[in-house]
């Protein structure tokens, strides 16, 4: 058997068992991992709900209407990503760029709301050090914020490449992956908004005190 002339390539063109690109599989697997990450933080929040020994309690701090606005903005940005990917695939670069810019702006608005909210909370004494509510609330929301910020940076990087002409319909997958990530971060926010804000907002002083401090 002669091996003369064999071209040895590394990459997907030789072995691709499923037909799905490696990058996309990686992103899905990563999101699966991230589910466990957020899941544990959310679990912590729920386990420590109504366990704070002192205030400020959720009813003193959370402002549902304001957060609803930022939630709405973030959810709408998901639609923007879908359109940005769609137009990129159709090589309508103008629209693709427009939607991408809009998504980035909406992400930044969301982050602006979060910065406002955090400073406001800190102002009224709700800090990560204040009590269990503060610790669980801030770690979860700030790490979600970190995810959003990372997403914004990623999208800016892609936008730059669109302007440079490096990101075209041929490698639209790169934007698609960022979009996948963006959707995931949005879905996590829906859960956070439901559990950390809507359900918790009315919590005040734990009813009957803590089970283990009652007898002391």
């Amino acid at each position: 058997m002669s091996n003369q002339g064999v071209t040895v390539h590394h990459g997907e063109e030789i072995n691709n068992s499923t037909g799905v690109s490696n990058k996309k599989l990686l992103m899905w697997a990563f999101l699966g991992s991230d589910v466990m990450f957020f899941g544990t933080f959310i679990g912590t929040f729920m386990a420590y709900r109504n366990k704070s020994l002192n205030g400020p309690y959720p009813e003193d701090t959370l402002d549902i209407p304001i957060t609803s606005v930022s939630t709405f903005v973030l959810l709408m940005s998901s639609l923007g990503v879908v359109l940005a990917v769609h137009y990129l695939k159709e090589s309508k670069m103008g629209l693709a760029k427009f939607w991408l810019i809009l998504v980035i702006i909406m992400g930044m608005i969301f982050m602006g709301f979060q910065v406002y909210e955090f400073t406001h909370f800190a102002h009224i004494g709700m800090t990560p050090q204040a009590n269990l509510f503060g610790s669980t609330f801030f770690t979860l929301t700030s790490l979600h914020g970190a995810h959003v910020s990372l997403g914004i940076l990623w999208l800016i990087f892609l936008l730059y490449n669109e302007y440079k002409g490096n990101l075209t319909s041929e490698n639209a997958i790169d934007l698609e992956l960022a979009g996948l990530y963006w959707h995931f971060v949005d879905i996590v926010w829906i859960i956070i908004f439901a559990l950390l804000y809507l359900i918790t907002a009315g919590d005040g002083v734990p009813p009957g005190g803590l089970p283990w401090t009652a007898g002391h």
Partner: protein, 630 residues
């Protein structure tokens, strides 16, 4: 993430030129070759194996007699904490990763893993994370809260200083490395298989790697969260585990063991995979019940998520929870038992050659069985109330993790050494290595069963004279030194093999899977021709086509031989070029983590390194376009 490949590729300005040489230190620092990465994983984790072993020996010296005072209680607590942490996170996991790296692309017929640079990142993050954790020895504040880090004893309130902060940050950095590697191997195994290699034709080791990778990807984030929470508590004053602010110490135990029990299977499943490769090779029989072995592995991986509270039978969960976790724990014995019987049936009727690798594998079955059976006695939660936190538990998990994982890893080293290096290890020394390790291991850990049942708690730096524990402890210490001696024999063996240069053929054991169809050591592109896979153990049937049912005695083509690389035109080989960005991201991450302890300036420097590395990485083409083929 792979780069955006466009004609007008933007690259950030390079500070250093991209390394291009194929030897020397720059090559090793920039390599993205899975085989080189595997080798570095192996060397570094073997170094930590020796360190963890020295820690263990110091523990054993201190316990060799009653009321010994060679080692102070402070140092003792640091030693057992770092021994456990080192052996789990810096030895067994990365040694398994060394095997994953070396073998997975070879076993599935690929030229590399799916993301070679991500793979390099895992390596460097692991290396610098392990250094980060051990820097604490030099600051005099090594972690001292146990490898499980139970609060409140690990909180800043009861454990001031930086020791446990080093520990928790080290774990978080190592977690990044593990998750990155896990993701990489999931994609590699799903997507990079050679044509014809369906999932149910994959070697068992590949299967176990796949399951392990899924467990890593799902379990390590939980540890990451626990680590972030504890870092918050220790450094920034949050209240997660501060019992004075209402924080619940039991909550830490839940999340730690929710990670920790899948972690146990992360440690043992690769070992089971290794053994499942070695046994059929030296029995010259196919693995008995491939499907059963694969599925019981998958079931173990799945059920491992529902048993975590058996580490907490004595924390007062109540009879209902204890019953549930007792039953789920007992259930997991069934797929484990199935594996053991299948391995035995593989040997049954075989033509067994007792090489060192085979002896270690048989030793694995024998010792793992003991560990499994003592595990069942733990599952009986009422009697576990007597065993919990005693030396009986120490005996149990050393039978599983040393008699299990480490035996299998040594078997794997002897088995694949010729493939890794091209040289044979000395079998005579190998068998001596096995015998002494076997005796030493049993001498060290068998008496611990008795010690535990006789009421000796774990993690005590000394014990009173009248307790009746002296003799067993002395025996254990002697056993510990025998193990150290056997490891020394292995190291000597490695050096002798280097000097004697007894060359290995591509397929010295007449083995079964694809990695043996290429030369030893494999060329950097692995396969000249990507194999077309038709069976489980494809290489075996290519060598013995007459074994296939329904095939004529004389097949058309001659029996397959190891691939010949002499005529390969190197100029036509395209493999990813070297990249130093993973190295810098790895360094940056550890510097940032160190900064959490010492100063925000370090955090900033670290994050800048990470950011620069990531941007550089994602704009760097896989191959330099202007480059002439080397």
């Amino acid at each position: 993430m792979s780069s955006i490949l466009g004609p007008k590729q933007f690259q950030i300005p390079r500070i250093f030129p991209r390394p291009m040489s194929h030897s020397g230190i720059w090559y090793w620092l920039g390599t993205v070759d899975h085989k080189k990465i595997g080798t570095m994983y192996g060397i570094v984790s073997f170094f930590w194996f020796i360190m963890g072993g020295i820690e263990a020996l110091l523990i054993r010296v201190q316990l060799s007699q009653a009321e010994n005072d060679i080692i102070s209680p402070e140092l003792y607590n640091q030693l057992f904490t770092m021994h456990g942490t080192t052996m789990v996170f810096l030895v067994v996991m990365p040694l398994s990763a060394a095997f994953f790296n070396w073998l997975i692309p070879l076993q599935i017929g690929a030229r590399d893993v799916a993301f070679p640079r991500l793979n390099a990142l895992s390596l460097w993050v692991f290396i610098f994370g392990s250094i980060l954790m051990n820097i604490s020895w030099f600051t005099g504040e090594a972690p001292n809260g146990g490898w499980f880090g139970y609060p409140p004893n690990s909180t800043i309130q009861f454990n001031p200083g930086n020791g446990m902060t080093f520990w928790v940050l080290g774990l978080n950095v190592l977690g990044v490395a593990s998750i990155a590697a896990g993701l990489n191997f999931i994609v590699t195994i799903i997507n990079m298989r050679a044509p014809g290699m369906t999932m149910m034709r994959m070697p068992v080791f590949t299967w176990m790697t796949f399951i392990t990778s899924i467990l890593i990807v799902l379990a390590l984030p939980i540890l990451g969260v626990a680590g972030i929470q504890m870092t918050g508590d220790r450094v920034y004053g949050t209240n997660f585990f501060n019992s004075e602010a209402g924080g619940d110490p039991i909550f830490w135990q839940h999340i730690f063991w929710l990670f920790g029990h899948p972690e146990v299977y992360i440690l043992i499943l690769p070992a089971m995979g290794i053994v499942s490769e070695i046994l059929p090779t030296f029995a010259r029989k196919p693995l008995f019940g491939y499907t059963f072995i694969v599925f019981s592995g998958a079931i173990i991986g799945f059920m491992g998520w529902f048993v975590w509270s058996h580490h907490m039978f004595t924390v007062g969960l109540g009879p209902a929870a204890n019953t549930a976790f007792t039953l789920s724990t007992m259930l997991i014995a069934i797929p484990t038992g199935v594996k053991i019987f299948n391995w035995l049936a593989t040997l049954w009727g075989g033509s067994i050659k007792f090489t060192t690798a085979m002896l270690f594998s048989i030793g694995f079955i024998a010792m793992f069985t003991i560990g499994g059976l003592s595990g069942v006695t733990h599952a009986v939660s009422p009697s576990d109330a007597q065993q919990q936190d005693t030396y009986y538990v120490v005996a149990h998990f050393h039978y599983v993790l040393f008699g299990g994982a480490i035996f299998a890893i040594f078997g794997g080293l002897y088995f694949w050494w010729p493939k890794f290096t091209g040289y044979m290890l000395n079998e005579r020394l190998g068998i001596l290595n096995f015998i002494i390790m076997m005796i030493g291991f049993n001498l060290q850990f068998a008496p611990m069963h008795w010690l535990g049942l006789d009421g000796m708690p774990r993690r005590i730096y000394t014990y009173a004279e009248n307790m009746g524990w002296e003799l067993s402890n002395l025996a254990a210490t002697v056993g510990g030194f025998l193990i150290a001696f056997s490891v020394l024999i292995f190291i000597i063996n490695v050096f002798i093999s280097r000097r004697n240069k007894k060359l290995a053929s591509g397929d010295p054991w007449d083995a079964r899977t694809l990695e043996w169809s290429i030369s030893s050591p494999p060329p950097h592109y692995n396969f000249v021709n990507i194999p077309q896979v038709e069976h489980i153990d494809d290489w075996w049937y290519k060598k013995y086509p007459e074994l296939l049912e329904g095939s004529p005695k004389q097949t058309k083509s001659a029996k397959a031989t190891v691939e010949d690389t002499s005529n390969v035109d190197e100029s036509k080989i395209h493999l990813p070029d070297l990249s130093y960005y993973p190295l810098f991201v790895g360094i940056g991450l550890s510097i940032a983590a160190l900064g959490v302890i010492y100063s925000y300036a370090l955090v900033t420097i670290g994050l800048i390194l990470v950011f620069w590395g990531c941007i550089g990485w994602s704009t760097e083409p896989v191959n330099e376009p202007h480059e002439k083929h080397h």
